[in-house]
Symmetry: C2
Subunit: 109 residues, 2 copies
């Protein structure tokens, strides 16, 4: 199964997608969008970052199709393109938890 997943043609694409997710602010944005669509302004307030920075990350997320964009009136409403990304985060959290647990056991002997 992994061999199918990681064949040479897909390898770069997969790596790119991981790299996109490897920025805390972008994860925070996606986390906000998990609760529903949000405007840029709302995301700026929620994350505490600057408007150009949030906007740029949204552009990146959009370019890689991790979010969708809908312009209504004066605002741009962003939403998660594929909720499956959250499964990723859960698996990663599971990974980390197991790592830490193992580390703890190794420490405690």
């Amino acid at each position: 199964m992994p061999k199918t997943v990681l064949n040479p043609q897909n390898l770069a694409s997969v790596a790119t997608r991981f790299r996109i997710l490897g920025v805390p602010l972008r994860l925070e944005i996606l986390n906000q969008l998990a609760e529903g669509e949000r405007t840029v302004t709302a995301l700026v307030e929620a994350t505490g970052s600057t408007q150009p920075n949030v906007s740029k990350h949204l552009t990146t997320l959009l370019a890689h199709r991790l979010v969708k964009r809908e312009k209504r009136g004066n605002s741009a409403y962003y939403s998660v393109a594929d909720p499956a990304v959250f499964e990723l985060c859960e698996i990663v959290c599971g990974n980390i938890e197991r790592s830490l647990e193992e580390e703890r056991r190794a420490f405690s002997g």
Copy 2:
């Protein structure tokens, strides 16, 4: 559920883990290790990269507990620490496939 996963304390850890996976050569290494433990030399040959480069990436993967290391004789045998990482790749591939399919549909009308 996503809120639990992406709480502020874990956000940086999760992002880091994604960033570790966001390098093609590291994915290629993990892909090789999916078939079983490998020495550094074997990974150098399989990937076509240089020995110091492979060794450095293995050190990174080890530091973040994505691989395990066992020294036997003159060689170091690396193996995957947590097979769950391959689930990540499958999900990402699913994401990408759906994106491309959507793009294709949008193009074909």
